[in-house]
Symmetry: C2
Subunit: 104 residues, 2 copies
DNA sequence: AAACCATGTTAGATAACCTTACAAAATTAT
DNA sequence: ATAATTTTGTAAGGTTATCTAACATGGTTT
């Protein structure tokens, strides 16, 4: 996993990076738009990816889009991504079958 | 600046990532091996680069090398790096002068 | 032997974060 | 139009995380 996805950033830093209030950040978690991990003591830990998502959310909120709608958009986007991923792997599999290095 | 160099990680997380004690991390700062930033309230903020450096330090300490010596090695390494950088830029400059795109 | 290095530990203080609850304005649904 | 929901702020009280300073100690260097 790359640095971008490591959950190492506390909420105060995320506030600084995004310009959102802690209240907003916690609320967007409640609405299942982001999924921070927790420290042993219960503090939230975010990744740079989370920060990017939050900045995206901030824009959509500014445009008057509700969290409910944002969530739908995100799920659709994720579905597209994972289908692209599946296609990519299938093509790779075909290529390997035809031209790949044999191990025997 | 890339994510790797952003100072966003608190000392507790650095402890987890490196396996060093907070005492050790603070001490290595005192010995000028790392240079965390500070939050408004005075908490240290580290980057992934800092974490990498600390893991390097941990290895050298295990080998019985003293902080004093580690610092010398690091300074030498940095000097080499910046000289490489200068050479690289000079060569690029020459290339641009001979073959570069003219703007007039 | 004296000085220094590296680390643990303790104490007390402050910063940072947590949850819960209430409030209120704005929007959406009935 | 009224009711319900959304979004955010704020406050209270509690816990976790971090800070500095100081003392202790075993190992190493001078």
């Amino acid at each position: 996993m790359s640095y971008k996805d490591k959950k190492v950033i506390t909420i105060g830093i995320v506030r600084e990076l995004t310009g959102l209030s802690e209240r907003q950040i916690r609320y967007y978690e409640e609405r299942k738009l982001i999924f921070p991990e927790r420290s042993a003591g219960g503090s939230r830990k975010f990744s740079f990816s989370d920060v990017e998502v939050l900045m995206d959310i901030a824009n959509k909120i500014e445009d008057g889009i509700q969290t409910h709608e944002i969530r739908k958009q995100m799920l659709k986007e994720q579905k597209k991504q994972s289908q692209d991923e599946i296609r990519r792997k299938m093509i790779q599999g075909q290529l390997n079958a035809q031209f790949g290095i044999r191990k025997n």
